[in-house]
């Protein structure tokens, strides 16, 4: 691919200078000849060697997919632009009959370390939207972005056919008679639930905050399983009724009546990996938090404020008043 890309790089330049492009396949020499006829009598010829290879045959059938969606590629592309390009590898498409929620998918045990993005598109944004059942598909972001960049620039629609997680999602586009394309992407299989997730917490507790959030069940799960985890979480969950945290972003505000839709969604979808970190808490969780004692600040913070103490040259004996003890050490085991 690299060789061909090199030849066609600088597309704007090519548009201006190249008048004709001729592709010839020479079987005997195993060469693909690309000849670009440019302005001013300049002719560029590239002879690229090729080798035979086994073509990968994907097994898929778009006719058998119960769900499908047709969208203007630019709409999807615009939604994807909210996701951080360099670091994010996978994205989750959560389809419900009412809307499509795009979420960043990161395999990171500590959600406070990464930026999570959630973008929601209502069914009205699509040219055709036909979802039989909710499903959540996680795919590789790079590939779908590349496809949409192409279809978006040419202004054609992208169709998606899918059945459920674990089965491929098929994106197609066509602009006959010029070209048509199909992109078949594997989707992540849903993993088993993580730890003890009390089902009650996910959907039935009254919501403390008025803004819509994704299921917070993952937050409680983590607190149970990893008591020593960075207390950034601890800090956050103590904050009540917070409006949007900086990390979460939305394309549009969702009116209240859609709360149910979201809640239904969460009861169906099982967390593959804790997805979005958020400040949502149920009333029950808030009560619990007021009883817990705030744990020590995360190592990072203490290292920042007490920087000098961690330096090799630090000698506590040099501090004036070091021998005055204000509080004795507490008993061990406390």
């Amino acid at each position: 691919m690299k060789a061909v890309l090199n030849i066609f790089k600088g597309i704007h330049n090519l548009e201006r200078t190249v008048q004709r492009c001729k592709l010839t396949l020479k079987w005997e020499d195993a060469k693909l000849v690309i000849q670009l006829t440019c302005h001013y009598g300049i002719v560029k010829t590239h002879n690229l060697s090729f080798i035979e290879c086994d073509a990968l045959q994907a097994v898929y059938d778009k006719e058998s997919c119960p769900n499908h969606m047709v969208s203007d590629s630019r709409v999807l592309l615009g939604a994807l632009s909210s996701f951080h390009q360099q670091t994010l590898e996978e994205i989750s498409f959560c389809f419900t009959p009412r809307n499509l929620i795009l979420k960043s998918h990161v395999e990171e045990p500590d959600p406070s370390k990464v930026v999570h993005t959630v973008v929601t598109l209502t069914r009205g944004e699509f040219e055709d939207y036909n979802i039989m059942s909710n499903c959540e598909l996680t795919v590789c972001l790079k590939e779908i972005r590349a496809l949409l960049a192409f279809t978006g620039s040419t202004g054609i629609s992208t169709k998606a056919y899918f059945s459920g997680p674990g089965s491929p999602i098929i994106f197609t586009y066509d602009s006959k008679p010029l070209y048509e394309g199909t992109l078949v992407l594997a989707t992540l299989v849903q993993k088993a639930e993580v730890g003890t997730q009390p089902a009650s917490k996910s959907s039935h507790e009254p919501r403390a905050s008025t803004s819509i959030r994704k299921a917070s069940s993952e937050v409680s799960v983590r607190k149970n399983n990893l008591p020593n985890s960075a207390s950034d979480d601890g800090d956050v969950t103590e904050v009540q009724d917070v409006t949007f945290p900086l990390e979460n972003s939305r394309v549009e505000e969702i009116p209240h009546q859609q709360k149910d839709a979201v809640r239904d969604d969460t009861s169906h979808s099982e967390p593959v990996v804790p997805l979005s970190r958020n400040n949502h808490k149920t009333a029950q969780e808030e009560e619990e938090d007021s009883d817990t004692v705030p744990s020590s600040p995360p190592a990072k913070r203490s290292k920042f404020f007490f920087r000098r103490c961690f330096e090799a040259t630090f000698n506590p004996d040099t501090l004036p008043g070091h021998n005055i003890i204000l509080a004795e050490d507490s008993d061990e085991g406390d």
């Binding site: 060789a3 060469k31 001013y40 009598g41 560029k44």
Partner: protein, 279 residues
């Protein structure tokens, strides 16, 4: 104040003095040559010639003529020394690029003689900087003896087409082959990279070719690493002349228009790559 006057007197007693209002002209030319640290400098009544050599296989010469300077005085017929080109460029650039509208610094250069440093005095908006660059014994430079064989193919073309060819060269290719011929394809540059070969042909009928004179078909390969330094002066040039002699030596001449619209020339010589690997 008295110290300053004394220094001024010293500066004026040199073998060579030159003054220009715009240092950017010289800076632009020297920057394109900076593929090596050391350069030979020849000061003569017709101007300054700077020579940079590349592993004894390639050579770049820049000619900075006297009309670039407001004042140009030299006592000897020819003065030669070697100095660190990178340092020279850094000193000339000491006031930075400057914004488009800003006054450009003026430059005064003085060389007192053998063993003395090259003294630079740059002034911009009342701020004066002076630098001294140590000079060394000049190195022997190659004489490519280009005109001796008599046979030569020469093409003069506008730099745009060669710029496109050279900047798009396949970086995985070690060699670059140049063909110049009175018959088709007239002028062809080929590279042999990891993925395959690429060729660019420029026809003699092209509008960008201003002068075409090829007596025989000459085809020669050159090491890419030796040709690469010529890309910098090429990008700064308006026109380029490509010449190849019967031995296969390549001479590229770049016509550069400086900021103050003076014309300067940079020459680039390159040895061909021997086919059988013999020395």
């Amino acid at each position: 104040m008295s110290i300053y006057r004394q220094e001024e007197r010293e500066i004026n007693d040199g073998q060579f003095r030159a003054k220009t209002d715009n240092v950017k002209n010289i800076l632009q030319i020297l920057k394109t040559m900076n593929f090596r640290d050391q350069a030979n400098v020849v000061l003569s009544p017709s101007g300054i010639k700077v020579t940079v050599e590349n592993v004894k296989c390639a050579q770049a010469n820049a000619f900075i003529e006297t009309d670039l300077f407001q004042e140009y005085e030299i006592e000897e017929e020819m003065v030669i020394f070697k100095l660190n080109l990178t340092s020279w460029i850094e000193c000339l650039n000491i006031f930075g690029g400057g914004s488009a509208g800003a006054a450009s610094p003026s430059l005064k250069m003085v060389y007192r003689g053998h063993g003395y440093p090259l003294v630079l005095e740059l002034e911009e908006d009342g701020v004066v900087t002076d630098c001294e660059i140590k000079t060394e014994e000049p190195e022997d430079t190659l004489d490519f003896d280009f005109f001796s064989t008599g046979v030569m193919n020469k093409i003069i073309m506008r730099s745009e087409c060669l710029k496109e060819v050279f900047t798009d060269l396949d970086v995985t290719s070690e060699m670059m082959e140049i063909l110049m011929s009175p018959d088709a394809p007239y002028f062809r540059v080929s590279t042999f990279g990891n993925y395959g070969t690429s060729q660019t042909e420029i026809s003699m009928e092209s509008e960008l070719v201003e002068h075409f004179e090829c007596k025989q078909t000459l085809k020669q390969r050159y090491r890419m690493s030796l040709i690469k330094p010529s890309i910098k002066p090429l990008t700064a040039a308006l026109k380029v002349s490509v010449r190849m002699d019967a031995r296969g030596f390549l001479c590229l001449q770049f016509m550069i228009r400086t900021e103050s619209h003076h014309i300067c020339f940079i020459e680039y010589f390159c040895c061909p790559e021997e086919e059988d690997g013999d020395d």
